[in-house]
Every structure is written in C-alpha cells, then in structure tokens.
Symmetry: C2
Subunit: 130 residues, 2 copies
Amino acid sequence: MFFKLNTSIGQPFYVQLMQQIRHAAESGALQDGDQLPGIRTLAEELVVSPNTVARAYSELEHEGLLELRQGSGAFLTIKRRARGLTERVQAASRKVEDLIEELHQEGLQDNEIWRLFETALFHRAEIGAE
Amino acid sequence: MFFKLNTSIGQPFYVQLMQQIRHAAESGALQDGDQLPGIRTLAEELVVSPNTVARAYSELEHEGLLELRQGSGAFLTIKRRARGLTERVQAASRKVEDLIEELHQEGLQDNEIWRLFETALFHRAEIGAE
DNA sequence: ACCACTGTACTGCTGTGATGCTACAGTTGT
DNA sequence: ACAACTGTAGCATCACAGCAGTACAGTGGT
C-alpha cells in the first residue's frame, strides 16, 4: 500500500490515514470489495501503533466505507451513490490541480491559496449550517 | 471587527483568528497601519480567553504581519511584496469560489471538495519539501 | 502623578493523540 | 483439531496543545 504519514502537518495520523483511504476509494485506486492491509501489517509499515490504524479503520467503518470482518480482514464497501462518482472526482481533481497551478503561476504561495479555499469553504459551511 | 469562530471545524481558535486576519489583510479589508481591536476587547467579542487572542496576535507578529506595541495596541504592517497582491488575491478568490460552486453543482460534497484541495496541495508540499 | 488603557508572562487544568501491552474472539487453510 | 492469521477491547501512560485566569509591565492622555 502507498500511504504516507506526515508528522509536520499537525494533523493526527489516524485522520491522515482516513483521508488517504477515502481518497483512494473516491479516485478509483481502490475498488469495491478490495481488501486492505491488516491492522498490524499496516501499522508496522507506517511505523505507528496498531491502535492508531485500528482507530482509522473503525471510524471509516462507522462511515460505511469499510467493512471490518473479524478474522478475515478489512474490505472496501463502496455505496451505490459512490459508483459513478469516480469519474467526476477524477475530473474534479484535475480541475483543482489546474486552478492551483494557475494561481501559483500568478505568484500566489501555497499557503495563500490554501487560505482562499479555506475561507471559501467556510462561507459555504456557515450558510449551510444556518 | 467581523471575525467569527467555529467550534465544529476542529481547528484551534487562535489559528482561525490568524487565518481571518491574514485574509482580511490580503483581501484589502484591512490596510497597512490599521489598528486592530485590543486583546481583551476582541476576546470578549469572540467569547474566548484574552490569551487566545494574544497568541494569535503574537504569532502574526513573528510572521511580520502585525506590530505589537505594548501600551498602545496592535497594528498591521503590510510588506512591500504584499502591496499589489490584493487585486490578485481578490481575483483568485473569485476563481476559487467559482470552482467550488461548479464542483458543487456536479454533485460533490463540501468534504469531498475539501479532500481534493487537501491532497492536491499536499502533493505540491511534498515535492517542495524533498 | 495618576489612571485607564495597551500588550506580556506565568501557572494550572483539561482533552486528546499516540503508544505499549495484554488478552480475547472470529475465520480460514491445513 | 489445530495453527496462524484476522479484528476487538481494555487498560495505563506519556506528551502536548488549547485554553482560562490572574497578576505584571509599558504607554499615553488628563
């Protein structure tokens, strides 16, 4: 598996792992029914405690993205809605990358770009929340 | 002042505050030399500890965006580079909002969009870091 | 000189992320 | 049946981030 954790980003390991698994599922790198590495295996690979991986897996199970079968392993369960989402996500991903590239050409820094996204999404969330 | 903190986002108050002040500076809402509200005043408005505001201010001072003068207050100091950045940021801001809107029309959720930005910017960061 | 304002510094509490360890329980292949 | 794998669960522990409260120190107007 090709996950990678970043200590300097300040984000919890288990959250990073969750994000990466979600992304892998949405982008099609992982398919419905695929088996994920075992908790201990992955923990050893990433040099973290098995507990940490277990937590990520179990939270993803609550979200319905994973099915954990004791004794056999962890398997991806991609819902109906998500099928067909893959292409859209891939297309969207390209657009996002393009925009970032464009803004970068214009002399904006990564963190400035990040801030723009953040505030833009904040606005939506606030409106949506009320 | 028009700052607003969000408890449900999981981001520290002081970071949120920093982001919003930076954004206000970059977007032109705050000008060079402008005085910011006092620590206690702002703290009371946002219903947080004065300490929290103090931390945000002091970190921004290290970044060089603020000048803190004990006894008189906090003042914005916008560097040369930043001048002229304003229009670009505003333009960029619009592009970002447009893209988010577009993706949303295509049926993507906020958190999925968020994830896309995150991974896209991560890639850049990783490349830049190595 | 004084007072009301500014930022500063310190101390302590609390929640949480992460780890290590241990023991348990279901599944699968031999 | 057994062995070797899977996930589950519960602890204790450590470190650190976020936040609050409180007392201190500089500044400026009167």
